[in-house]
Amino acid sequence: MAREPVLSFTERGLYCPAGDFYIDPWRPVDRALITHGHSDHARSGHRAYLATHAALPVMRHRLGQISAEGLTFGETRQIGGALVSFHPAGHVPGSAQIRVEVGGEVWVVSGDYKLEEDGLSEPFTPVRCDTFITECTFGLPAFHWQPQAVVARQIADWWAANRAAGRISVLGAYGLGKAQRLMAALAAQGLPGPIATHGAIEVTTEILRNQGYALPPTQPVSLQKPDASCLVIAPPSALGSAWARKLGPVSEAFASGWMALRGVRRRRGPGTGFIVSDHADWPGLNRAIAETGASRIFATHGYTTAFQKWLAHQGYDAGIVSTEWQGETQDPETPT
């Protein structure tokens, strides 16, 4: 007898018929389970939201008045015929994979994830399941990340060199997750100077700091004009802008997994690129998938065609979920 699948792929997004809810839907629905607060996953207009307690403050800030409930990592909740729980995805603070169990069959939706501990996000934990829906933003074998500490050292050296040359260091990084993770990693090495923030970065940083995440002190650029000793963290869109020019003589850099590609570095124009991502690299994706023990994998959110073919080649029952998620895949300038 053919059973209804635990999750189906609808035009509003991933849907669980047994529990009558959606996961990271992109059109308004009655009940949405949200993996994390990035704008391509947490959209506005849903009647009720369910996410981790840790993800909610940023979501409330970004989405305004929402009716939302929080769960602790690992806490289970029965919704109709489905048992759901949230598990750390290691992507950004509060980010989760969502486990859905119906009639003994387990599916896990990865959301965005990375395997390396960044010292801030709750570390990724593999969840055993039958079917795993995985992102594959960097699902090609060209992507191999270096340890965060190595990149943090490169950034600190660049910062110190700029300081010596009398230039302010301006580092472009996504406002939720990447920016704070880099602050924490730099602080762990001993800061060569004060960290200043663009307004958009400061807001999220302040929210996470109030949640209890350990972040070094930052000073908003709007309150105190930075000097050459400062590292200014700004959204990628601020690089090369009038805002950056007003700071005085600057040296700009962009921190992103896409900086691994020379073509993308050059397309962004001059400046330094630091290769650091909040998504899993090629070995990371493969390891995460193996550790779920799942026999069926759906690829989404990235180089799905090639990645699905690769998984099939590895003996998995592999498919693709096409989404309206645009995320980091499409254009390095779009924040996720």
């Binding site: 020379r262 073509g263 073919k309």
Partner: protein, 535 residues
């Protein structure tokens, strides 16, 4: 290799000419001498003998990384460069091999021609000892195509700064077919000239495109005007004991045009002429298409010689009686050219490009409008007092081309770009209407802004009908105005027509696909283009 990799990274991280020149002159001062020679050679487009084919490199890298070949093929268009793709997919190096650029090149030269297993082992061992940037550069040594954002002029200036030799001397020395393995850095920068220079060409002076019009150029009397001929720009060298024909790409093409060899006897010794090779039949000048049969041929059959003969139309005189004339004003050089051409025996395959007289700019504009009738692309304007510049220097030489032909066509395939534009769809195939069908007729990849390419990329991704490797078939909806410089018949193209230099003029958001041009409109252009030229 470390110094070379550091140079590469410094050049890659900036677009500022001053920063690039500084990085280069620092390198030319400090790097091992023979590495400098190789760097100059690589930046001038020379490369070592090929130790492996792209296919071999791809296969070996896939095996070494434990990846199926198709996955490497899928990764390549995203990365945009094969050498970089291979550098990125390989497992991290287990060793640190510290060799100079020259040592690596020597190693590659030693591998060249060896059996496959030896070459494979040599290259795998190299990969295992290089960091990613060095590995990428090592691969580039094999695949060729170093693009480091360094123009010839910039490199010449940096070399001049590092050596104290004047840049015109260095530029001249870098011309022609010197081989890095047999050249020392001292030779390249020595103040004295050597014997081997007798057939060496001068750097070509280049014109800038005149946008808008000639109003800002001052009185018309200050300018010499001539047709911009549609052929192959070439330099004729007639020196004691040497006769040579060089293309603008610095290829020695003497043997490809044997009918011009007769000039070695009639041109006075110590003459260098800047000219255009054009197709020339019984009826006189022929369209560029006739010349195409001759392009790229190393040897020429009697039959082809009879079918598609060529001639030189001379523009300028660079050396007269062995004296470098490039600093003399154009008017002086032109007078010398006329004197030499008039001394040639009747029927010599070299004529002087006629100067076009005009009372005012309006009269010259009228002449320009007739360019197609003369099989020319437009006009060349040269300031009468100007020297023969090194490369492109804005202000003294202008090409005032005809407005290009244009058609409105619809995009039917899109392919991602390379390098800087690897993540964008930038290479499009276009179709025209032919009855009820759409017939592909041209490819183009330039002419739009990055913002437009981004927007089209999003559209392509959302509207893909089929994927063939890196190519996407899309619904025929987006209309573009394409410009092109010339048109000719082609049996190889489905449309029966081939365009010269097609490019996108603009994205016609205002036009639905139902209003694109038909293939018939192109056929009409083709007819017009090939009617015999008016005398």
């Amino acid at each position: 290799m470390k110094a070379f990799a550091a140079l590469f990274e410094a050049l890659d991280a900036t677009t500022k000419t001053s920063a690039k020149t500084a990085a280069l002159s620092a390198y030319f001062t400090a790097a091992p001498a023979q590495d400098r020679v190789w760097t100059i050679a690589l930046l001038s487009g020379k490369r070592p003998k090929r130790a492996a084919t792209s296919t071999e490199l791809r296969n070996w890298a896939a095996e070494e990384a434990g990846l199926p070949l198709w996955l490497v093929e899928e990764t390549y268009p995203i990365v945009g460069d094969l050498a970089e793709t291979i550098a990125l997919i390989l497992p991290p190096p287990r060793l640190q091999t510290d060799r100079s650029l020259t040592e690596w090149i020597t190693l590659l030269a030693d591998l060249t021609g060896k059996d496959k297993d030896t070459r494979r082992a040599g290259i795998l061992a190299a990969w295992d000892g290089l960091r990613p940037t060095e590995r990428f550069l090592f691969n580039k040594l094999i695949t060729g195509g170093f693009r480091m954002g360094v123009s010839r002029g910039l490199m010449t200036r940096a070399l001049a700064a590092a050596s104290g030799i004047e840049d015109s001397v260095i530029a001249h020395r870098l011309m022609g077919n010197w081989t890095p393995a047999e050249t020392s850095y001292e030779q390249l920068i020595s103040p004295e000239d050597d014997a081997a220079s007798s057939s060496r060409p001068y750097p070509f002076a280049l014109a800038s495109a005149l946008e808008g019009g000639p109003d800002a150029l001052g009185p018309v009397e200050d300018w010499a005007a001539e047709w911009k001929w549609d052929g192959i720009r070439a330099q004729v060298i007639a020196r004691p004991g040497a006769f040579a024909l060089w293309s603008r790409g610095e290829e020695l093409i003497t043997d490809s045009f044997p009918e011009l060899g007769i000039l070695s006897r009639s041109l006075p010794k110590g003459t260098v002429i800047d000219a255009e090779i054009v197709a020339w039949g019984d009826a006189g000048l022929q369209p560029f298409a006739s010349l195409q049969k001759r392009i790229g041929r190393k040897t020429v059959s009697k039959k082809l010689l009879a079918e598609a003969p060529v001639r030189l139309i001379a523009y300028d005189l660079l050396e007269d009686g062995g004296r470098d004339l490039r600093q003399s004003p154009y008017a002086t050089r032109r007078a010398g050219l006329d004197r030499i051409v008039s001394s040639l025996p009747p029927g010599a395959p070299l004529i002087a490009s006629p100067l076009l007289e005009a009372r005012d700019w309006a009269a010259l504009a009228k002449k320009r409008a007739e360019a197609r009738d003369h099989l020319a692309e437009g006009l060349m304007l040269k300031r009468r007092t100007a020297p023969y510049h090194l490369g492109r220097k804005r202000g003294d030489w202008w090409k005032w081309k005809l407005d290009p032909y244009s058609v409105d066509a619809v995009m039917i395939y899109a392919q991602s770009g390379h390098g800087r534009r690897a993540t964008l769809f930038t290479d499009f195939t276009f179709a025209l209407r032919d009855g009820n069908d759409l017939v592909p007729f041209a490819k183009a990849y330039s002419g739009l802004t990055d913002a437009e390419f981004r927007e089209i990329t999003a559209w392509v991704k959302a509207n893909t009908l089929e994927k063939f490797g890196p190519v996407r078939r899309v619904p025929p909806e987006l209309v573009f105005e394409l410009a092109f410089e010339g048109i000719q018949e082609s049996a190889r193209h489905k449309s029966g027509i081939a365009l010269r230099f097609p490019r996108m003029l603009r994205w016609r958001r205002d036009k639905p696909a139902s209003e694109i041009d038909s293939l018939d409109s192109l056929r009409a252009l083709l007819k017009a283009a090939h009617s015999p030229p008016r005398p």
